[in-house]
């Protein structure tokens, strides 16, 4: 293989430029990480009582040296919420990123495939009718309902996609059909609900971090820690999917199996956070797009960048939701879009690369 078509072009330039490109991406990822830490710290400093950032950092690094009150507020009340923003944002963003990858569709997200809508319907079943789909722990009835419905929707999509003749375009269509179905069912429940139950449903569907507890943080974190390495192992193959099925297959990838495996993981990744915090649609759609614009689609960079963009987006939103109206914490699902959209627009209009 040593014959050149004519004159051989010197190889040094491409190699050097590629190394520089990789370095720039790593730097970007570290910047995102730094911004995330800063945002989480600020998030913990803000609340009904605002603490100086220095006190928060002391409470984090040497909890035994600060007052009991500060320690309890930081560790038991604010930290679960701040970290919930991080894990939920990261999970939804990665889920969206991989849905977009395996379905080759820029509109794919936990929202688009009906997973969020199914979860809302499940939650409403519990809140309005008091129906527990899986009657075990009453205090967890709403999230368990939401999770079971979300998984049901995900499994439906999963089995539909194994059927012959169902293309990726059809899967997206099926997902959107699910959104409409569950939204209709939800509206019906809302119509029949008492005023009190209606308020609860509306609040739930807006999405909120205020009910975060340490166990919920652990569960979402654990699912994330399970899913991300799984995707990382298939980084090259997942990237290759974006060149089209034929091309990926010609690289020796079992496209069908990869797609199914990724779809299963994505379902879990999307269903868990949605069932704990309600509908936060925007992160799953836009987090990956921001990541893609920053580092491209090589999954070795795209995957960590998606994690960080999603986490950062939700964490910053959590900060903003406390600052907008002093003393009130606005539902985060409402604020995400308000915070994220302007930033997203700026990126789209100033980006020199194509976004998709």
């Amino acid at each position: 293989m040593m014959v050149a078509m004519t004159d051989q072009v010197s190889g040094i330039e491409g190699r050097g430029r590629y190394r520089a490109l990789v370095l720039r991406r790593l730097l970007l990822i570290f910047c995102l990480l730094g911004a995330l830490f800063a945002s989480v710290a600020v998030d913990m400093a803000l609340g009904p009582a605002n603490y100086p950032l220095a006190d928060v950092l002391t409470a984090l690094s040497r909890p035994e040296t600060v007052s009991d009150q500060l320690r309890v507020v930081i560790w038991d009340i604010r930290m679960p919420i701040a970290l919930m923003a991080v894990t939920v944002g990261a999970s939804l963003s990665v889920a969206g990123a991989q849905m977009q990858t395996i379905l080759a569709n820029p509109l794919a997200s936990p929202f688009t495939l009906g997973i969020s809508a199914a979860a809302s319907f499940g939650a409403a079943l519990g809140l309005v009718a008091g129906i527990a789909i899986f009657p075990v722990a009453v205090s967890y009835m709403v999230p368990i309902n939401a999770f079971l419905m979300a998984m049901l929707a995900a499994l439906f999509i999963h089995f539909a996609s194994t059927m012959r003749g169902v293309t990726v375009e059809t899967i997206v269509l099926l997902g959107i059909a699910l959104v409409f179905t569950f939204n209709a069912a939800l509206s019906l429940l809302e119509y029949l609900a008492s005023e009190q139950a209606l308020a609860a449903v509306v609040f739930w569907t807006m999405g909120s971090l205020t009910k975060a507890t340490w166990p919920k943080v652990w569960i979402t974190g654990a699912v994330l820690l399970f899913a991300v390495p799984l995707f990382a192992r298939h980084a090259w193959a997942l990237t290759a999917l974006r060149l089209g099925d034929d091309k990926a297959a010609s690289f020796g990838i079992n496209v069908r199996r990869l797609r199914l495996e990724a779809m299963m993981t994505v379902s879990l990744l999307a269903a868990i956070p949605v069932s704990f915090v309600g509908t936060i649609g925007f992160v799953g759609l836009v987090g990956p797009h921001i990541a893609r614009m920053l580092v491209g689609e090589d999954q070795r960079f795209f995957l960590p960048a998606s994690v960080l963009c999603g986490a950062l987006l939700l964490s910053v939103t959590s900060v903003v939701s406390k600052m907008l109206i002093p003393g009130a914490v606005l539902p985060i699902g409402v604020i995400t879009a308000l915070v994220g959209v302007p930033f997203f627009f700026v990126l789209i209009f100033t980006n020199r690369r194509r976004a998709w």
Partner: protein
């Protein structure tokens, strides 16, 4: 040198059989073999079947292949892709499948070399989505070559290239296969290219082999009439090489 024999090879999509009973003699490495035939004859399907990407009856015998079936590389016909990747990354992607995250200097040097050979080093850091059709086709060839295949199945690799690039790529592939012993099958629609660059030719028509053998014995006025439904002559040009001259359709 690697060689390939097809025995009663067929292929089906679902219940529909699109290829049946394809037998060939020994397809030897070190030269180009043209696979020609009308649209929808089954050329792409044959390639996918050989590469193991579709199922079907029959056997593909491979001998003297160090990598085994892994060494068979199919270069698809359509190369439209809108991934946010540079040309360089997309070629690296092909080389790195199945290996770890770390990229060694040697692997990058290999990519630089292949891009240089195909004379697309200047495209290395352009995004895939902003390439012209022909440029995409060259990138696709680069992606195939970095895999260092022993059997390369190229599905219409020159269909979007300008005249200069067409003869450059075909000439390059001919030299490459002669030097490395790689077996190269090329699906082509330009019969003059087949006559000029390919030692052997397989004609696929309606899902089976209509003719096969040495190219100048296979591409004849009779074959063109029965398979392609065109009235044509195969005559020696002033340089003595056979060329196809088309007079009209039947």
């Amino acid at each position: 040198m690697v060689s390939l024999t097809l025995e009663k090879v067929g292929a089906n999509y679902g219940r529909r059989t699109v290829l049946s009973d394809v037998n060939t003699g020994l397809l030897r490495g070190g030269g180009l073999t043209a696979v020609i035939g009308p649209n929808a004859a089954g050329k792409s399907t044959l390639f996918k079947r050989i590469a193991g990407l579709t199922s079907g009856p029959g056997t593909v015998h491979l001998s003297d292949a160090a990598k085994g079936p892994e060494g068979i590389c199919y270069m698809p016909q359509d190369t439209g892709a809108n991934a946010v990747l540079t040309v360089y990354e997309s070629v690296l992607l092909s080389a790195k499948q199945g290996s770890g995250w770390k990229v060694k200097d040697g692997e990058l040097a290999e990519i630089d070399r292949v891009l240089g050979e195909l004379r697309i080093a200047d495209l290395a850091f352009r995004d895939l989505g902003e390439l012209s059709g022909g440029q995409r086709q060259l990138v696709s060839i680069a992606q195939a070559l970095v895999r260092r295949p022993e059997v390369l199945l190229m599905d219409e690799p020159t269909s979007a290239l300008d005249l200069f690039r067409q003869i450059e790529v075909l000439g390059f592939m001919k030299r490459l296969s002669a030097q490395s012993g790689m077996a190269v099958l090329i699906a082509l629609h330009d019969l003059n290219h087949a006559l000029r660059y390919c030692d052997d030719t397989i004609v696929i028509s309606g899902g089976s082999v209509a003719a096969s053998g040495r190219t100048h014995e296979v591409i004849t006025a009779d074959m063109l009439r029965s398979v392609y439904r065109v009235e044509a002559r195969v005559e020696a040009c002033s340089m003595g090489r056979p060329v196809v001259i088309v007079d009209g359709s039947l």
